[in-house]
Symmetry: C2
Subunit: 372 residues, 2 copies
C-alpha cells in the first residue's frame, strides 16, 4: 500500500542512482524502501560484512566504479558524519548530499570550519529507528508517518531541497523544516534527555535488593524501557549534542531539587502545593506529546478478558471485524501466573457501544470501558 501510495516520486525527480553510505539500520532501511520503489540503490559501507548483509537482505547493490548518483545519503555514526559528507561532496560534485545523523549543528559547524563548499549539502534527520541496529534489523517501513527534519539554509537550491524532501515523502515520512539549532534543542528535549533520565533512573536499581525490584509494575517498566539502549551510539549522540542536553538537564536538576526540598519538610507551608504542581505540570506536559495517531484524534478503550490459549485473540478480532469495529490500537496485559490476559482495545468513540454490545452478546467479558 505504501508502495502504491508513494510510487515513483523520487525516481521521477532524481532519474538516477541513490548512493547510500553506511548500510546500518537507517541506511539499509532507506535502501530497502527505495529498492521497492524501483530506484537504483548503490550501497557503500566501511565494513565489508555489514555491506554484504545489506546487499544479501535486498537493501540495494554494491557501489560500482562509474556510479553517477543524483542523491547521496550519508547514514554513518555521528563521529564520522562530517568526514564522510566532505568526502562525498568532493567525490560526486553533481550530487545532492544529505545525512541522517541525529545531531545537526556539530557536523555542519565542522564542515564550515574546514571551508567545505556546502551548496549541495542539505542536512536531514529521519525520526525513525528501532531498539536494535544493523542491516539485519532494517525495515522499509520504519519511516512511515514519522517526521523527517530537513535543514535548509539560504544557499539551498529549491530543486535540491525537493530531492531531499521527496526522499522523505517517498518513504512515507513527513518533511519538517527546521534550523540545525532548533533541531538539536528539540531532540535534546524529546529524545536525548529522556534517554538519560531513563538510564539514570534505571541505574538506581543496580544496587537494590531483589525483593525491592520484585515490587516493580508496568509504570516503572515503561519509564525505564529505553534504558536498555546500547551505550556506544548514545555516547556519540550525547557528546555531539552536549550543550542543548546540558541545558535541559540543568533545568531538570533545578526542578528535581525543588521537589526534593519540598519533600524534605513535607508539612511545611507550600510543600504539598509544590508537590502537586510538579505532578500537575507533568500532566500538562505529557498531554502535549503527539499520540500514536497525532495529537488531535482520541480513542476510547475497552478492556476484554482473553483466555491464554491459541486462537482466542483470533476469535476476538474476527468478531470485532464482523461487528465492523476497527481496532485502532491495542495493548495486551498479561499477568505472570494468570491463565488469561486483558486486551485493551482502542476504537473510535462512535464504535464503543457497538463493540461492547456485540462482544457481550458473543459471550466476551468486558472488564471496563474508559476514555483515553
Amino acid at each position: 500500500m505504501a508502495d502504491a501510495r508513494a510510487a515513483g516520486a523520487l525516481a521521477a525527480r532524481t532519474s538516477g542512482t541513490v548512493r547510500i553510505v553506511g548500510a546500518g539500520l537507517l541506511g539499509s532501511s532507506i535502501g530497502h524502501a527505495l529498492s521497492r520503489l524501483g530506484v537504483d540503490v548503490a550501497l557503500a559501507d566501511a565494513s565489508p560484512a555489514q555491506l554484504r548483509l545489506a546487499v544479501d537482505y535486498g537493501a540495494g547493490r554494491r557501489e560500482a566504479d562509474g556510479d553517477d548518483p543524483a542523491l547521496i545519503v550519508v547514514a554513518v555514526p555521528p563521529d564520522v558524519t562530517a568526514d564522510v559528507i566532505q568526502r562525498e561532496l568532493a567525490a560526486y560534485p553533481n550530487a545532492v548530499v544529505t545525512d541522517t545523523a541525529s545531531v545537526k549543528l556539530e557536523p555542519l559547524t565542522a564542515l564550515r570550519e574546514r571551508g567545505v563548499d556546502l551548496a549541495k549539502y542539505i542536512g536531514s534527520h529521519p525520526l525513525a529507528g528501532r531498539e536494535r541496529g544493523g542491516a539485519i534489523s532494517a525495515r522499509a517501513d520504519i519511516f512511515i508517518g514519522r517526521p523527517w527534519v530537513v535543514c535548509r539554509d539560504e544557499e539551498t537550491a529549491s530543486a535540491d531541497l525537493a530531492i531531499v524532501e521527496g526522499l522523505a515523502l517517498d518513504l512515507g515520512a513527513t518533511p519538517v523544516e527546521m534550523s540545525p539549532d532548533e533541531h538539536d534543542r528539540a531532540v535534546a528535549l524529546v529524545s536525548h534527555v529522556p534517554q538519560l533520565v531513563a538510564s539514570l533512573l534505571a541505574g538506581r536499581f543496580t544496587g537494590a535488593p531483589d525483593e525491592f525490584l520484585g515490587l516493580a509494575g508496568q509504570g516503572v517498566r515503561d519509564t525505564t524501557r529505553i534504558a536498555a539502549s546500547a551505550p556506544e551510539l548514545w555516547v556519540q549522540i550525547l557528546g555531539a549534542n552536549a550543550q542543548p542536553v546540558v541545558d535541559v538537564l540543568d533545568a531538570l536538576a533545578v526542578d528535581l531539587a525543588s521537589v526534593a526540598d519540598a519533600l524534605r519538610d513535607p508539612d511545611a507551608p507550600g510543600s504539598r502545593r509544590a508537590v502537586a504542581d510538579t505532578i500537575r505540570r507533568g500532566n500538562d506536559g505529557v498531554g502535549r506529546l503527539p499520540g500514536k495517531h497525532g495529537q488531535k484524534r482520541r480513542f476510547e478503550q475497552l478492556v476484554v478478558m482473553v483466555d491464554d490459549t491459541a486462537g482466542q485473540l483470533g476469535r476476538l478480532f474476527g468478531e470485532l471485524g464482523e461487528l465492523d469495529v476497527n481496532v485502532e490500537d491495542l495493548r495486551l496485559e498479561h499477568s505472570p501466573g494468570a491463565q488469561f490476559g486483558l486486551a485493551e482495545i482502542s476504537v473510535v468513540p462512535s464504535a464503543v457501544e457497538r463493540a461492547v454490545r456485540g462482544l457481550e452478546a458473543r459471550g466476551w467479558k468486558i472488564a471496563s470501558t474508559t476514555n483515553d
Copy 2:
C-alpha cells in the same frame, strides 16, 4: 479460571463476613473478587455516592448493624488510613484489620504514638492499580500475579497472618513479607520516584514549542506515560513516604549532576567514559526489573504488517490460532497517516519459525523477527 483456582480458601479460613472500608478502586476490586468467591462482603464508604456505585456494580452489599466481620480491609486514602484503622480496631475487637495503603511506616507510627493496641492489625499493600480510580474502574482481576506485601511483626498471631495472606492468595496475588521500612524504601525506588521522574521530565515539555514536541517518538511517550497520573493521590503518597523518596531523589540528583558535568566538557578525559557508564548502569538496572511474565521467561517478537481495516487483526490472530501459535504479548504500532499498522507479536522461541513460515505461506508480510 482464576475463580476455580482460588475458590473458597479465604471463605474457609474466615467463615464469615469480610468488611471493606473504602469502596474506591482497590476496595471495590477486592469486593468484586471476594464476592465472586462466594464471600459475604460488607462495604462501607464515607461517600454515599461511591458506596451506591460499588454496590450497584456488584462489589458487595452495604454494611449493616450486627455485622461481625472476621477480616476488615481498610482501603481509604493514605491521609485517613491511620484514623480508620484505629476506629475499626475499636469497633470490631475480634476482627483482623488490614489496610491497602501504599505507604506502610507512617500509619503504623501514628497508631503506635496514639497507643493503639495493634495486636490484630497487619498492614498490607497489594501492588495493583489502574490509571483510573473509583468504584467504577474496579476489576476483580487486578491482583492476579501481582505481589501483595504483608507487614507482620513479633506480635502478629500466625492465624491472623494466615487470614491476610489468604486474602492475597485468594485474589491471585503473591504474598511477600517485608518490614514497613523495607516496603517503603522499595516503593520509593520502583514506584514513587519513577512517578516523580516521569512528571519532572514531562514538566519540561510545558514551555516547549509545538514543533519540538512534534519530533517525539515512542521512547519519550513510554518514559512519560505515568506523568498523566492524578495529582491528589500522589501528593498524599509522596508526603507520607517523603524520607525514602528524598533519599532516592538525592542520589539521583548526584548522578544527574555528574553526567551533566561530563557533558559540559564532552572532550575532557573521562567524559565519554562517564556518559557510557551512565548508559551502561541503566542497561544493568533495567535488566533487573521483572518482566511481564517474570524475569526468566523470554519471548521472541515478529512484526507483521496489518492493513488498517476492520477484520485484518482477526484474520491474523485466527490464522495464528490455526498454526497453534499462542500470542504471549503484542503491541500494535500505528503511524499517523499510514494506511496500515505493525503488529509486534511475542511468541515462545520454539514457535517463531512455525509462525513465520505459516504466516508467510498465507500471504502476510513479516517486517522482521527479533530477539527479546
